[in-house]
Amino acid sequence: MSYKDVWILGEQEEGQVKLVSYELLKRGRALADKLGVDLAAVVLGKKIGKNGIRELIYRGADKVIIVEDPALEFFLPEPYVNTIEDLVNKYRPEIFIASATTTGRTVAPALAIKCNAGLTADCTGLDIEEETGNLIQTRPAIGGNILATIKTPNHRPQMATVRPHSNKPLESDASRTGEVIYETVDQARLKSRLKRLEFKQNEEEGGNIQDAEIIIAGGKGFKKDDNFKMVHDIAAILNGAVGATRDAVDLGWATYPHQIGLSGKTVSPKLYIAAGISGSVQHLAGIKTSETIIAINNDPEAQIFQVADFGIVGDLFEILPLFKQKLQAVKKGQETEEIQGA
């Protein structure tokens, strides 16, 4: 049997299909259309909500393959890898894409070994080579200094992970239809030598940077801990999350979950404001896919200005307080308008 179709690995939490699943569908849809094949979403969990399954179809899936079992409630490598391996062996997709989340980046490399498949991490671009139908994968490497184009000519499925939030999902289209398949897996395959004991939710101030639409981030330019509060103030006004460079985290001004860059998180918000950030290659690699980048820095030669859509060269201690004040005024004005308008 030959290999056919494009698969994406959906993710769920408490039975709710997560946003990254829909993001992957957009990537997968483009590939499936080029190849003229079906796009399937695979979701594993204890019980998957019907709305989520419908939404997967509305947002691009032709097929949804669901495996439900209490052993799959939370992500554990062994039952997840075994289950997907069995599905891959049964259906033989030619392309398999997962999100480069902590789940995807854990499942995919083990699965690639089990399925004797090639895997490319953290792709920023996926395309189909016209002559061969091979998957063309593009990814940054060496600290974001190069872009490598990678192929997997002789192994199937061709596997890739894609950075979460590096693209938006397709619009939901309620006229779309698709097939929902419920699969079961041998209980022996669901055994795990790793057990989940408990979960501690992040209760950090400043929000989750990977889900944020707006991020304001600070670097060494803030000079000391006290000054970093300005980042939080402006984030609060814009309803955004707080980000930090590696330097700022190493200096203790922000905690590691807020670190942006190759050694921290890759983000792709609608708006990224970089204040007092010079823009090391590592940091730039973590923000490049942001829709809009604003930079404020006192060094006109700073690299950050290379990627900025709007930049101000100047002292952030003069600019930010003024920016904060004017932002507050604008927000206040809008609230008044809304009240008057109502």
């Binding site: 490598p77 062994e78 890898v81 902590t102 789940t103 980046r105 854990t106 490399p109 083990a110 699965l111 690639a112 070994i113 004797n116 090639g118 895997l119 991490a121 953290d122 940054p140 490497a141 060496i142 600290g143 974001g144 200094n145 190069i146 490598a148 184009t149 990678i150 192929k151 997997t152 030598r193 790793l194 057990k195 979960f199 501690k200 939710q201 992040n202 989750n208 707006i214 590691y256 979950p257 050694s263 590592q282 980048i293 006109p300 200005f305 290379q306 900025a308 859509d309 709007f310 930049g311 101000i312 060269v313 100047g314 003069e318 600019i319 003024l322 920016f323 004017k326 932002l327 927000k331």
Partner: protein, 265 residues
């Protein structure tokens, strides 16, 4: 407790320069170092040894000069080191690399724990750790930010995920990849450096690890790099350079207008 730490030698990438014409890395003056994220794995291994006796083996696949990485790991507190180096290994992707490392681990006998860095700073994949576990068919976990307790036949760990921390218990032998939150790596000690200098170099090739020739190097790698290019990052945005208080005010006003245009405020 026997701990194995697979490490990688990488170019020091934080100050890397690219040749603007060829788009390749300028290697002159770029010092090879132990992958910075592997230092956390070495440190955690050394700490476990200090708490409860045992031995740590550093393992690396790379060119002959990667022996310096093995020596550095020994200087930090590893007891022994083996370099997997052979022309046949060259050009391996993560699939072929994890295969060779897993074969070498099989050769070194029983172990309790394999500790890996989260990923290497050059390739940036994070795939070799889980790959080794898959080849060896042992339980594994990733993004470990704390080893909470080492028990007789299991280890309680904390795993950092997007929304918080999972507390997990894993049976040994197992493989864990660790994140930088886990510890502060120590510097090599003088005594360690002396020990590393005196230690005999151990280099293994394909026959030493019973490797299948078809699984090795570039030929054994499912993925193939077909092109290297220079990323285009420049956005040609507008850049304001206010010179006095009044111009700063003007610049901030234009910034606010820009945000309005983008429908952010």
């Amino acid at each position: 407790m026997k701990v194995i730490v697979p490490i990688k030698q990488v170019p020091e990438t934080s100050n890397v320069k690219m040749d603007p014409v060829t788009g390749t890395m300028v290697r002159e003056g770029v010092e090879p170092i132990i992958n910075p994220l592997d230092l956390y794995a070495i440190e955690e291994g050394v700490r476990l040894k200090e708490q409860r006796d045992g031995e740590i083996l550093a393992l690396s696949m790379g060119p002959p000069k990667a022996m310096t990485a093995i020596k550095e790991a020994i200087a930090m507190g590893c007891d022994d080191g083996i370099l997997l180096s052979n022309k046949a290994f060259a050009g391996a992707d993560t699939w072929a690399t994890s295969y060779v490392l897993s074969q070498a681990i099989k050769k070194t006998g029983e172990f309790d724990l394999i500790l890996c860095g989260e990923r290497a700073t050059d390739g940036d994949t994070g795939q070799v750790g889980p790959g080794i576990a898959a080849w060896l068919d042992i339980p594994f976990s990733t993004y470990i930010s704390k080893i909470i307790e080492v028990k007789e036949k299991s280890i309680v760990i904390e795993r950092m995920v997007e929304t918080g921390y999972e507390i997990l218990e894993i049976e040994t032998p197992c493989l864990l990849t660790v994140v930088k939150e886990i510890n502060y790596p120590r510097l090599p000690s003088l005594r360690g450096k002396q020990r590393a200098r005196k230690m005999e170099n151990q280099t293994w090739g394909p026959i030493d690890v019973d490797a299948k020739p078809e699984n090795l190097g570039l030929k054994g790698s499912p993925t193939q790099v077909v092109k290297i290019s220079k990323p285009q990052v420049t956005r040609n945005g507008q850049l304001l350079k206010p010179r006095d208080e009044k111009e700063i005010e003007g610049a901030v006003d234009r910034l606010i207008d820009f945000l309005k245009e983008k429908e952010i405020v």
